[in-house]
C-alpha cells in the first residue's frame, strides 16, 4: 500500500506486506504501515478485521506467512516474542496481566529480575518507577497491592511496567473497554504526554469516538486488509465507520411502542456471590420497553444477568414474574417463566461447541414433547427446528449437523437468538448481545430486539457499550458496585452525566470509596 511517508523522522516501526492465513481464512492480507516517532496511531477495525492477529505477529506469537516487521530499522526475527520486547515494544493487554497478590513495585519488576533474590534492589526499582511516573504524570503507588487498585489504576501500572522495560513503542489493545468516559479521557492525556516525551503509541480500538479523540492518524482494517488511512484531523466518524464496515451504517430506527404491564419485578434483591454481589437491586420491566443497564465492566452486571437467567438466586429480596414471587429460582424455572435468554459469553455459556447446531438450538427445550418422547430424542424434530432457525435468521453454516464450534461469532449469536426468541418469550434478557459481532450482525440483533419490544415483550439489555444502550433503551439504569440507580428515560440525562454515574457519582458506593 503506497502512501506518502511521514517526513519528519525515520519510522520506528514498519510492517511490510504482512499476510497470515488460517486454513481458508486470510486473517491478514498484505498489511503494510509505518509508525512514526511521537505519534499516536489508531488501528481501527471490527472484531475479526485482523487486529489481534496482526499484533500477535508483531509480538512473535504467530509467524506471518509473508511479510516482515522492522523496528528502528532492524528486522525482527519472526516467531520470537523476546525480540519485540528487547527492541523496545511494550504491550498493554485488554485483560491485564498483573499478579493481584503482589505489590505494584513487584509487578512492575516481575520478569526483569528474580523477586526473591537478595540482589533485587527494591529501592533502585522504586527510584526508577518514581522517575517514570513523575516524567509522564502517571500516578501509581509502588507499595500498594494490585488487588486493591481500581481498573484505571491497574492500567496505569501496566503502562509503567512497559516503560520500566524501556519501551519506546507502546501498543494498547482496546484500552478503554474497562474504563469510564472520564478515565478514558485521562488515558488519552497520558498518551499525549508519552508521545511528547518521544514515545510512539499504537492503540487498537473499534470505538470511533475514541479514535477521533485520541489519535493523530488512523489505519482502518476491514476483512484483513487495510481499508484506508487518514489523518485524524482530516476525517470524521462517518467516514471512518464507512471504511470500517465497508458500507454506510444507519442507526437503528426506534419506533414508539405503548408501555405494557409490569412483567418482571425485582424488589430489593441482593445476592450472596460468587462474583460481584447485588446490593438491594430494584427494577420493573414493562412489556413493550427496553430497559438498558449501563455501567463499567465488572460492577455487577454479570450477576444481574445471572439472576435474571436463573443462574443465581436472590439471597434477600424478591423476584416476581407477572406479579407472582418466584421461589426455587433456577435456569429451568427461568425458562418455564418464559424468559428468553441471550448470555454474555456465546462460547462458554451460550453454546456447547462440540455438539451439533441441531442439538444446540434444542438445548433449552429437549425435554418438551416437541423434541423428545418418553426419554427418547426426536432427532428429526431437532434438525427441523435447526433448519427453521437457520432459514429465519440467515445463519451461514454447513447444515444442522455441523458442530457449532465451526461457526463465526455472528452466526453463533443468530442461533442463540433463534433459540432464545423461539415461542415469543414475554421477557428477554440480552446480555452484551452484540459484543464481538460485525456491524451487519449487530444491526440484525438490534432489529430483533426492537421487534420483540414492538410485539410487547420486555427486554432487559445489559451492555458495556453505552452507545448501544443509548440507541435502544427506553429507560436506562446505571450499575455501580452491585447497586442499580433509579432508571431514567432516554434523553433525560446527558452522556457526561451517565458517565459520572458509571464512575459512582451519586451512589453510596462512591461515598464509601471517597
Amino acid at each position: 500500500m503506497d502512501r506518502p511517508r511521514v517526513p519528519m523522522t525515520a519510522p520506528v516501526l514498519r510492517l511490510s506486506g504482512i499476510t497470515k492465513r488460517f486454513g481458508p481464512l486470510t486473517a491478514n492480507d498484505a498489511i503494510s504501515f509505518e509508525l512514526a516517532q511521537g505519534e499516536v496511531l489508531a488501528l481501527l477495525g471490527e472484531n475479526g478485521a485482523g487486529k489481534t492477529t496482526l499484533m500477535n505477529i508483531l509480538f512473535g506469537h504467530y509467524v506471518a506467512d509473508e511479510g516482515t516487521v522492522e523496528a528502528f530499522g532492524k528486522q525482527l526475527p519472526p516467531g520470537d516474542p523476546r525480540a519485540a520486547l528487547t527492541a523496545g515494544i511494550g504491550m498493554v493487554h485488554q485483560h491485564f496481566t498483573l499478579a493481584e497478590n503482589l505489590s505494584v513495585l513487584d509487578n512492575i519488576a516481575l520478569g526483569t529480575q528474580p523477586l526473591l533474590s537478595p540482589r533485587f534492589d527494591r529501592e533502585k526499582a522504586r527510584r526508577r518507577i518514581a522517575e517514570i511516573t513523575s516524567e509522564f504524570g502517571l500516578a501509581v503507588n509502588p507499595s500498594a497491592l494490585v488487588s486493591a487498585l481500581a481498573v484505571g489504576e491497574r492500567q496505569r501500572v501496566e503502562i509503567v511496567k512497559a516503560l520500566y522495560r524501556d519501551a519506546k513503542v507502546l501498543i494498547l489493545d482496546e484500552p478503554t473497554a474497562v474504563l469510564t468516559p472520564a478515565e478514558s479521557r485521562a488515558l488519552f492525556e497520558t498518551l499525549r504526554k508519552l508521545t511528547a516525551g518521544g514515545l510512539s503509541v499504537i492503540f487498537i480500538s473499534h470505538k470511533l469516538h475514541e479514535v477521533m479523540a485520541g489519535s493523530d492518524r488512523v489505519i482502518v482494517l476491514h476483512g484483513g486488509k487495510v481499508a484506508g488511512e487518514r489523518r485524524t484531523a482530516d476525517t470524521d466518524v462517518h467516514e471512518l465507520a464507512k471504511l470500517m464496515v465497508g458500507r454506510e451504517v444507519l442507526p437503528p430506527a426506534v419506533e414508539p411502542v405503548p408501555r405494557g404491564a409490569v412483567l418482571m419485578q425485582l424488589d430489593g434483591v441482593s445476592t450472596a456471590g460468587p462474583g460481584v454481589r447485588l446490593d438491594g437491586v430494584s427494577l420493573r420491566l414493562h412489556g413493550g420497553e427496553i430497559v438498558g443497564i449501563a455501567g463499567v465492566s465488572g460492577n455487577g452486571q454479570a450477576t444481574l444477568a445471572a439472576l435474571v437467567a436463573g443462574m443465581a438466586a436472590p439471597s434477600s429480596g424478591s423476584l416476581s414474574i407477572n406479579g407472582r414471587p418466584e421461589a426455587g429460582w433456577s435456569p429451568r424455572a427461568a425458562l418455564a417463566a418464559g424468559i428468553g435468554r441471550i448470555p454474555e459469553d456465546r462460547h462458554s455459556t451460550g453454546t456447547i461447541g462440540d455438539m451439533t447446531i441441531a442439538e444446540n438450538v434444542a438445548l433449552e427445550a429437549y425435554r418438551s414433547p416437541r423434541f423428545s418422547k418418553s426419554g427418547f430424542l426426536n432427532g428429526r424434530a431437532m434438525r427441523g427446528f435447526a433448519e427453521q432457525v437457520i432459514g429465519d435468521y440467515e445463519v451461514k453454516c454447513p447444515g444442522p449437523d455441523a458442530r457449532i464450534r465451526l461457526l463465526s461469532g455472528g452466526n453463533m449469536q443468530k442461533l442463540i437468538l433463534g433459540r432464545a426468541l423461539d415461542g415469543d418469550p414475554a421477557i428477554i434478557l440480552a446480555n452484551q448481545p452484540t459484543r464481538g459481532l460485525d456491524v451487519g450482525a449487530v444491526a440484525y440483533v438490534q432489529e430483533r430486539l426492537l421487534a420483540a419490544r414492538a410485539r410487547g415483550a420486555a427486554v432487559l439489555l445489559i451492555s458495556e457499550d453505552l452507545d448501544e444502550v443509548l440507541a435502544l433503551a427506553d429507560r436506562i439504569a446505571v450499575m455501580y458496585r452491585g447497586r442499580l440507580s433509579e432508571p431514567f428515560s432516554r434523553g433525560e440525562k446527558t452522556t457526561a452525566e451517565i458517565g459520572a454515574m458509571m464512575a459512582g457519582a451519586g451512589s453510596d458506593g462512591a461515598a464509601h470509596a471517597a
Binding site: 516467531g79 433456577s330 435456569p331 453454546t351 461447541g353 430424542l377
Partner: protein, 349 residues
C-alpha cells in the same frame, strides 16, 4: 515449535494420522523386539497368529475382550460426562462379590430367574460403589480421581479379607478363594469345550444399549452436554448434578458387569487374581475408542488380541509378553498425538 488450531480438520487427516499412529507403534515395538534379540516379522506374525490365527485363538481373544468391553464402556460413559471414574477395578470386584454371594447356593432358583437377579444385583453394587465418590464430588467438590482410585486399593484388600474370612471356600485347601457357583448361576459357554461364554453376548448387547442411550435418549444428551460444557448445560436448564449422579450409577453398573461376567462366565469362583487390571485397561480401551460405545468393542478386541497374541508369541519366540503392555501403551500415546495433530497444525519456529 508451536501449535496452531486447525479451523476444520480434513477428512484425510483424520484417517491418515491414526493410521500413522499404528505404524509408529509397530515401528517402535519392532525396535524393542530387535533389542530382545528376535526378528520383528516373526514376532508380529506370531502375535497375529496367537490372537486371530485359529478359531481357538480368536475365541480366546474375544473371551479376554469381554471384561474389557464392560470396563471400557463404564469409563467411556463416565468420561463422556467428564466424571473421571478411575475406579472400574473396584466396581468390577463389587460385581464379582455380589455374584459369589448370590450364586453359591444362597438362592436356590432356576437359571432364568437367578441370572437376571444376579445381573441386577451386580449392577446395583457397582452403581452404589461409584455413588459415594459422586456424592462427595457434587456436595463437597472432592476430586473423584482421588476417591475412585483409592477405593480400588480398599476394594482389593476387602476382597482379600472376604476370601480369608466369610467367603473362604472350606474345601479350598486353604487357598484364598470362594466356593464355586452353583450350575444355575453359571453363564453357559457359547461353544462347548471353548472358554468363550455368554458374557461376551451380554457385553455386545451392553455396548449397543449404551450407544442408544448416548445417542438417542435425553439422558445421553444431558450427559454429553454436561461433559462438553457444564456451564452451558446448567444455563440451558440441565440439572448438572443429577446428571452426574445418573452417570455415576450407569458407569459403576457397567463396570460391575465385568466382575459378574468373569465369575459367572469364566472362572466360576472369586479369587484375588480375578482381574489383571481390567479396570485400568478399560481406560485405555475407552480412550482408544474416543469414548464411542461401539468403538469400545473394537478397541477392547484389539487390546485383548495384543495381550493374547503376545502370550502365545512369548511361548514360541522367547520374547517377554511384556511387549504387549508396551504396545498397548504406545498405541494409546501415539493415538493421543494423532488426535491432537488432526486438530492442530505444528509450526516449526
Amino acid at each position: 515449535m508451536r501449535l496452531e488450531p486447525v479451523v476444520s480438520p480434513s477428512a484425510l487427516a483424520s484417517i491418515l494420522y491414526p493410521a500413522g499412529a499404528i505404524l509408529v507403534t509397530v515401528v517402535i515395538a519392532s525396535l524393542l523386539v530387535l533389542v530382545a534379540g528376535a526378528s520383528p516379522f516373526t514376532v508380529f506374525g506370531l502375535v497375529l497368529k496367537g490372537a486371530a490365527g485359529s478359531q481357538f485363538a480368536l475365541m480366546e481373544t474375544l473371551t479376554r475382550a469381554t471384561p474389557l468391553i464392560f470396563t471400557g464402556l463404564a469409563v467411556a460413559v463416565a468420561f463422556r460426562a467428564r466424571l473421571w471414574n478411575i475406579g472400574a477395578e473396584a466396581q468390577l470386584y463389587a460385581g464379582a462379590i455380589i455374584t459369589v454371594v448370590l450364586g453359591t447356593g444362597a438362592l436356590p432358583l432356576p437359571a432364568v430367574v437367578l441370572l437376571p437377579l444376579m445381573i441386577a444385583a451386580a449392577i446395583l453394587a457397582g452403581a452404589m460403589l461409584l455413588a459415594g465418590p459422586a456424592v462427595l464430588k457434587i456436595r463437597f467438590g472432592v476430586d473423584e480421581v482421588v476417591t475412585t482410585l483409592l477405593i480400588n486399593f480398599i476394594m482389593v484388600l476387602f476382597v482379600s479379607m472376604l476370601l480369608e474370612g466369610v467367603l473362604k471356600d472350606p474345601m479350598g485347601l486353604g487357598w484364598p478363594q470362594s466356593q464355586k457357583l452353583i450350575a444355575d448361576a453359571r453363564l453357559p459357554r457359547i461353544v462347548t469345550g471353548r472358554r468363550l461364554h455368554y458374557g461376551f453376548v451380554l457385553a455386545i448387547l451392553s455396548a449397543v444399549v449404551v450407544w442408544i442411550v448416548m445417542k438417542k435418549t435425553t439422558l445421553g444428551f444431558e450427559m454429553r452436554a454436561v461433559g462438553h460444557n457444564p456451564e452451558a448445560a446448567r444455563f440451558a436448564g440441565i440439572p448438572v448434578n443429577r446428571v452426574l449422579m445418573k452417570t455415576a450409577l450407569f458407569s459403576g453398573g457397567l463396570a460391575a458387569l465385568a466382575g459378574f461376567s468373569e465369575v459367572a462366565g469364566l472362572k466360576g469362583n472369586l479369587t484375588l487374581d480375578l482381574s489383571p487390571g481390567y479396570g485400568y485397561s478399560g481406560i485405555v480401551v475407552a480412550m482408544l475408542a474416543l469414548l464411542n460405545p461401539l468403538g469400545v468393542v473394537v478397541s477392547a478386541i484389539f487390546v485383548a488380541g495384543i495381550f493374547v497374541g503376545a502370550d502365545a508369541m512369548s511361548r514360541a519366540a522367547g520374547v517377554p509378553s511384556y511387549i504387549a503392555d508396551v504396545m498397548v501403551a504406545l498405541a494409546l500415546l501415539t493415538m493421543v498425538v494423532a488426535i491432537m495433530l488432526t486438530r492442530y497444525r505444528v509450526r516449526w519456529r
